[in-house]
Amino acid sequence: MPLYVLKRVGLALVTLVLLSLIIFFAGQVLPGNAGRAILGPFASQQAVIALDHKLGVDRPLIVQYWSWATGILRGNLGMSYQQQAPVSSFIFPYIGRSLKLAAFAFVIVVPLSILGGIIAALNRGRAVDRILSTTSLSLSTVPEFVSGVVLIVVFALGFKVLPVSANAPPGSSFITQLKYLILPAIPLVFILFGYIARMARAGTIEALDSDYVRTATLKGLPRWVVIRRHVLRNSLLPTITVIATQTGYLIGGLVVVEKLFVYPGIGTLIINAANDKDFPTLEAGVLFIGMVYLAATLIADVIYTVLNPRIRLGKAE
């Protein structure tokens, strides 16, 4: 078991290195160069070349990658072209705000969608199931910028019950901050609810139809004991994997929502950096999203293993 976790962590690290390579070289493919981006269209060519040299972007790519990658290991994310400051000096508050929004959406969507999936499964074929399944599926097909706009129009501009912007004024209480996050979280919840609920429903139905549930029922156990003890644990195993991949999506999906709700998170930062050709900031932001994705998958794999004795203990003989 510990060996398994170590192996998974090792694999995650390898993936991270590959990811950094992709991010770095993809950044090079983008048109325009750093010196020109910083100095603007009217600077002289000499000045641009001089600045490029100063920034080191005229060195061979592999050398640049090496110094960038080793820099990250030392905690140096590079200098932002735009802000003229180390990326590490300003990126963390953005990350913090994004994580807050993502965590809030996550905390709402996971229990809700699992519950929805289970309720739908237990009422398979009945009206409750049809309504839950159809609604969740329809909601997950609506892009977050559409549902976000509708929500703003209805709740922020129409009923005026919730703020338009996501960012609470400085110094607000935790509750107030959450209130500001409700509207931006909902589009994310909509999208994820469909996937997770569908998976939970399928898993629960499979478990309900299984032979071991028949065994348990024919033992004369009350239905809720059968469900709690025999259905849920087996039915939620596949759902865990889905939640992990969707968490990655959640972080990626922030880009749109943050922009829409003018929320200074990592998504906004990445978009601005991309517009400004501020590669170090862009690369750091994307790398962070990748890390969250990997961490989510890793955690899901470990939980899956812990809950599944067939993997945890291996096959005897």
């Binding site: 398979r124 074929g125 299984s210 032979d211 071991y212 028949r214 065994t215 348990a216 029922t217 024919l218 033992k219 004369g220 156990l221 009350p222 239905r223 003890r229 025999h230 644990r233 087996n234 195993l237 809950l307 599944n308 004795p309 067939r310 203990l313 096959k315 005897a316 003989e317």
Partner: protein, 694 residues
Amino acid sequence: MTLPASPELSAPVEPSTTLEVSHLDVAYRVRGKDRLALRDVSFSIGRQESFGLVGESGCGKSTTALAVTRYLPRNGRLSAGSVLVNGQDPAKMDKRALRRFRARTISMVYQEPGRALNPSIRVGRQVAEVYEVGGTKKNEALARAEELLGMVQIADPGRVLRSYPHQLSGGMLQRIMIAMALASQPSLLILDEPTTALDATVEAEVLDLVSSLRQRFQTSVLFISHNLAVIAKMCDRVGVMYAGELVEQGPAQEIFDNPRHPYTVGLLRCVPRGGQRKDHGRLDTIPGFLPGPGEVQVGCIFAKRCALASQRCLEETPPMYDAGAGRTSRCHYHEQAPELPRATPEDVTLRSPDRSGEPVIRLRGVSKTFHTRGEHVRAVVGVDLDLKAGETLGLVGESGSGKTTLARVLLGLSVPDEGSIIELEGSPLAPECAKRDRRQLQAMQIVFQNPDSALNRRHSVRHIITRALKKLAGLSGEACERRLLEIVRSVRMEERHLPLRPYQLSGGLKQRVAIARAFAGAPRVLVCDEPTSALDVSVQAAILNLLADLQSRERVTYVFISHDLGVVRYLSDSIAVLYLGRVMEYGPAETVFSGPHHPYTESLLSAVPSLDGSPRERIRLKGEIPSAAHSPSGCVFHTRCPRRLANGLCESTEPGLVEVEPGHMLRCHIPVDELRRLQTTEDADLKAGQPKIS
């Protein structure tokens, strides 16, 4: 282990029958229409009686069991008739009463024990639940669970209780299921194909266990199986089901010896029994197909497949006639049933294999070792075999004995160990099939157990066979088309089947397509890996006839793997008995079956229940086949051998495979004359009515 008597059970008059099923109809709702899965089924089970339901797939055996426990699928319902267990109708119970009924009155064990237990909860917790339902505290329930496992002869109950299902073998799990089922001392125990997924030796143990516990707990049993011999062994009375109807019932002995319904007669003729062999004549078959649910509205449900049927059978639904000797039969002509004309002519002229010629396949020192996680699993060890043209070699042994691995090595799907020699018609074969040339690939083909997964679902029959003809036989155009039709007819299929896809075919037809595909390249050797295990008895008979005919015509050599010794005996000319990858006995089929046997062969033979009621059951193998990663010292069989020598030779030295009679090889320290003496005197004792229980 006594439970407080429930008020229902201590009703003033206890009914004399445990189960009373009367005029039961069960309908499944499919695409908005009710389809009858059971029609007018009536039978009863007396106190402590064992009643068997037998029939082929789709006959409604399991539906009957589910109706009794009120656990029909969501689209199923009891549309007429009634079920009474101890005089109570489960259909009329409220939730509480139904729970109590399931907890105390009725228990069920079913086919795949590996799926019947929750994979993520320890076995102990699951067994303890049975007691917790009755209100026992958790710790006490666990203690009782341990006691219970001791009762079903589980040697180390503590360890087993702490295990998860996937860590235990099928036989062990099924014993746990039986223990759980009997823990509440139910009035009725339902066993639905309880041994179908198990090896014959394990099956024998489980069946013995059921018999002894049934005596002890005085439980009535409803035993469901497709295996006629198992039913004959386990049941007092039998009901034969066909297409949702109970067509005949009566005392087990009467039904199997003297059936009075054409379906029962036909079914019994499909099974090779009494040492029947392919050169004795073809097996009889049942023509036609099972009618779909609701297809037959009036008349006898079996009429379309029955050689005795007249106009009356199509117009008038037969009632249950009294057919004498306690039998009832749903046939207008039950008196003539024993004279049912054969559907397949018996006469057959099969060419016997050419024993003198050069072998088609020669194996010398073939071994296969798997290296996994630092362990060396010796799946096949030093096998020497010669296969002649047109001969069938039967490979016999429990699961884990190396049968399939040997076949895979032969086909080049697994690479054998260094030094193994495989020769095809005198020239050595490359160990990997990728390195064999087309002629060599064409020479060796396989038919798998499950045609469902062996055929590509998206390809039509025409595509599947044509592709084989192009790839293996190198045919194209006109010639290919002609050969296609020829092959399709030779497996008794018709042109109209060509555009169909596998999912549109029945199991038997699918297996015919697989056989046609294998024969496309005119192979020299055909490996048949349990080709009839997934099929019904009546379909199996037709496939066995087909294989025998094709072999005789094409002079193909078969390597026939099967766990069903009756089937192996029917088709094989020679037999190799494998245990932990070693050939323990090898010789002409009749010699291997008539003896003297290797003690392992002897145990296998005595494990198989027989329809002929021959007094074979004197040897029981204890425990399970050891892991091939840790083969025992000396003779690998000594840990389970019922005839192990007292002088320690078996533990220390591995015996060689020695020719004890012409063509008959044994791997045993016991001299052959001693084996013969041991095996025949006990037979004599049994015949004299003094069974020796070893």
